[in-house]
Symmetry: D2
Subunit: 143 residues, 4 copies
Amino acid sequence: MTEEEWQSLKTFVIDKFTNDPFVRDMDIKVESVEPKRAVFSLDVKHNRSNMFGIVHGGVLMTLADVGMGAACFSCNKKVVTLEANMSFLRSAPVGKHLIATGSVLHNGNRTLSCECDITDDEGRLCARGRGTFFVVGRIQEER
Amino acid sequence: MTEEEWQSLKTFVIDKFTNDPFVRDMDIKVESVEPKRAVFSLDVKHNRSNMFGIVHGGVLMTLADVGMGAACFSCNKKVVTLEANMSFLRSAPVGKHLIATGSVLHNGNRTLSCECDITDDEGRLCARGRGTFFVVGRIQEER
Amino acid sequence: MTEEEWQSLKTFVIDKFTNDPFVRDMDIKVESVEPKRAVFSLDVKHNRSNMFGIVHGGVLMTLADVGMGAACFSCNKKVVTLEANMSFLRSAPVGKHLIATGSVLHNGNRTLSCECDITDDEGRLCARGRGTFFVVGRIQEER
Amino acid sequence: MTEEEWQSLKTFVIDKFTNDPFVRDMDIKVESVEPKRAVFSLDVKHNRSNMFGIVHGGVLMTLADVGMGAACFSCNKKVVTLEANMSFLRSAPVGKHLIATGSVLHNGNRTLSCECDITDDEGRLCARGRGTFFVVGRIQEER
């Protein structure tokens, strides 16, 4: 892939995830997209929390799905999620700023395995997830 | 537990999950709460979908977390999620009405194992998840 | 698939799993193979237990991998495991006879999602697992 | 914990896992035990492989369960496995020497979250697993 192709791919990925309806509704922001890696962020507001005043598990799983999906897209692969899991390691109360870093562990032709770490303002690991993604197409033509 | 205690517990669970900030923001509705079982529903609107026009994986994982958590609460246990997983089996496009049924597989003193099935209008299984929950307290005093 | 083709496929699956080196070494027995479903059994002996005198988690995960894999094969698909998970619900001490029932939840062209329940002599659920399988080929030619 | 107490704990963990009936039967070797971390190894022989001539998924899940369990023990906690998952990233054929490194991600009083990486002779990641463990007791008295 030429540098020009990569820039075009990167722009596509950022646009797609910025305009993804649910991602936008959740106020999840794209921070960066690199080959095999994508970073997103979220401010934990009241309407993203649960009855304990901490970020809802569903929000963390959403962040991970988004981070891992975009990491797959950065490999020039359009994917859907086959399965995902997450361990919740530390609670993040309202007011925290979360960073989700999705990365590709295995970049196969048909399926990809990814991981996502979610950390808080102090860099502490709040959740770690993994998932398997199915390739439904390429974004740019391969040559 | 007397019938009266159960009705009081059930009311508590329905209130807690109806007023959970993220659940409310997501327009997830409580359908029913029974011992070891809780049912929620969601209409798949545009802002709950992804770039493919189908319900976002994060929405399904949120539904499952809510369904399983409420099923734990119905066992008189306040819980937090330790971990969760989900297999995505069938996509649900915008317009579908989803039903999430959370149930308790193992009701331990300290941890519970739960499952959640998400079905569409035609009763077809769209996703199945499982999770482990940690007991942080009782809702009603045990006698 | 004709009845004759099914019988031929079934014989192939039973042979393959009976002669799988690790399955044989573990004394895992084929009980039955039906379309989308395969049942295996294991006697919990001392050398399959852990320091607590109960069946080792690795044995249960092996049983599930075998049960789910054979269920995929019964759909005329040769598969490898992409990922698997298991919740441990009830311990099975040495002396128990375990039944693992693998079933196919989603039978796709490229990937399958499966589940496996492991029960003891009294039919109580000891473990439930799920997995995603990747199709590497067909067993019989499709027509 | 004094150095003497750590040495005593480490000896206990190595003994327990060396003599665990299934671990011994599988020819899984203890390589090292450090605080929050335990390393085991396995030679992939024919009787640990599947019909494709590669290490059986059940063997890898066993290795991970052992590595993560011993990592918990190294934190002075006797544990049982609540749940575990694994992604299979690269197949390891007969003849490979595998290293499983279990580590503790969250060391709670009641539950621990762990991870295990399994690499081959060339240091390539073959599988990554995660699990949740329940504390059933302490090994040494805390003071």
